[in-house]
Symmetry: C2
Subunit: 256 residues, 2 copies
């Protein structure tokens, strides 16, 4: 069984060698720039680790894993646009629209989403693609709630904007490993908890979101409960979930 | 065999009754507005007519047909944005960003593309989705060429921006009808000619694109040649292609 570091290396290699549609032409550097931002590749690593824990070959999950990272990148590129969150920086570098201009950022984001589906559609069944489409509509709906102000449920917003893609990361790993839909719920519950915890830790680190709206104490309590539930959920799955536990450890270690 | 008007009615009904992901929430009216623009539904009708001509049930092609229209709408919504073509009007109505604001237009376009894939992924095989992804990368690459000025090949640009989705409309109809890849080339050639002719007629009507760059005379000559090629291509297909011929007649009738 590969360690999370080894899985992360596989993801980086696969993303680096990714062949994009030649039709994109001069837009390819925009797509590569967005993908090379030095992210932690949490979603694709979670996908590969799930596939392996569920008895599959993680290498067969590489296209699905890359597709998840492309959807994540698509959402960052569009969310950073001036009309949305208007963020000039992303992971210490100029965001895509600052570096390449707005037109390129809009088209580059579109290309990232479309290439994600092209990758997901390399599989002989449509299930990986369906998983992406469900997650992406959640993310778009969540971003809509986020930019439209008004009363909003922060937990629902996080569930859509962040949780869905984490659950899909687990879901894609399960499909590639051949796990039937009926056997997926405990794994998926772990994915949802993992995503929710990720967002809580992020909010605590940035003193933002739930940490700001409900106070640090409540956010820490929620994080603790979610971690416990994720761990006991993992323990109840009849499989070697060591690496998934490792990923949870790494997530918790970031918590202030 | 249904007439092109009957097929168009089926498309309108299917689009009107389309269930979108509930996650989109307040973004749904944006998506519906973009879809209700009174377009001619040429791509979905071409898809249904191809499916029926190739011996399939056009009703089984309705999801694919709707997906094609959603991809078309996605491209219009994003292309109209201020950072791209900056068009305030679309078919006599305010364009989406004028009516709903830029944030909604960006997210609404994203939602249209994603819902298109969700529709294409309702099929038990990934072929319809693959067809969409190939067409969409062509459209995005074509729009990139269009907004980035500099020397550009107008024929190549049209082939990407317009031609690809018309070819995919024929392709999706063929897949739904169960036509093997090896038997598809003559049908696809018709789709490519149809798309090219559509763009030429549009350019002639607007005195734009090829009509402006190469002059009306050359554009008319190209349109005539393309029409002839499309007709003789159709004639060589061993199937009842009456309705496809009808669609070609309607296209040519628009030519000034």
């Amino acid at each position: 069984m590969r360690s999370s570091d080894e899985l992360r290396e596989s993801v980086e290699e696969h993303l680096g060698a990714l062949s994009l549609s030649s039709d994109l032409g001069g837009l390819e550097p925009v797509v590569r720039y967005a993908l090379d931002g030095g992210g932690k590749r949490l979603r694709p690593v979670l996908c590969l680790a799930t596939a392996e824990a569920a008895g599959g070959d993680p290498d067969l999950a590489l296209d699905a894993a890359a597709a998840l990272e492309l959807v994540h990148s698509f959402s960052l590129v569009h969310d950073d646009l001036p009309a949305l969150d208007d963020d000039d920086q992303r992971r210490g570098r100029p965001s895509v629209h600052v570096r390449f201009g707005e037109a390129q950022a809009i088209l580059g984001g579109d290309a990232l989403l479309n290439e994600a589906f092209a990758l997901a559609l390399r599989y002989p069944t449509p299930v990986v693609g369906r998983e992406l489409a469900v997650a992406t509509s959640g993310m778009i709906g969540g971003q809509y709630l986020d930019v439209n102000g008004g009363p909003r449920d922060r937990l629902e917003l996080n569930r859509l904007k962040t949780g869905r893609l984490f659950e899909a990361s687990v879901g894609c790993g399960l499909w590639v490993a051949g796990v039937e839909a009926g056997d997926q719920p405990p794994w998926r519950a772990f994915g949802a908890d993992f995503g929710f915890l990720f967002q809580l830790v992020d909010d605590l680190l940035d003193d933002d979101g739930i940490a700001r709206e409900r106070g640090r104490e409540e956010a820490l309590l929620l994080a603790h409960e979610t971690e416990e539930r994720a761990r006991s959920g993992l323990g109840a799955i009849d499989a070697d979930t060591t690496v998934l536990g490792e990923l949870l450890d790494q997530l918790v270690a970031r918590r202030p």
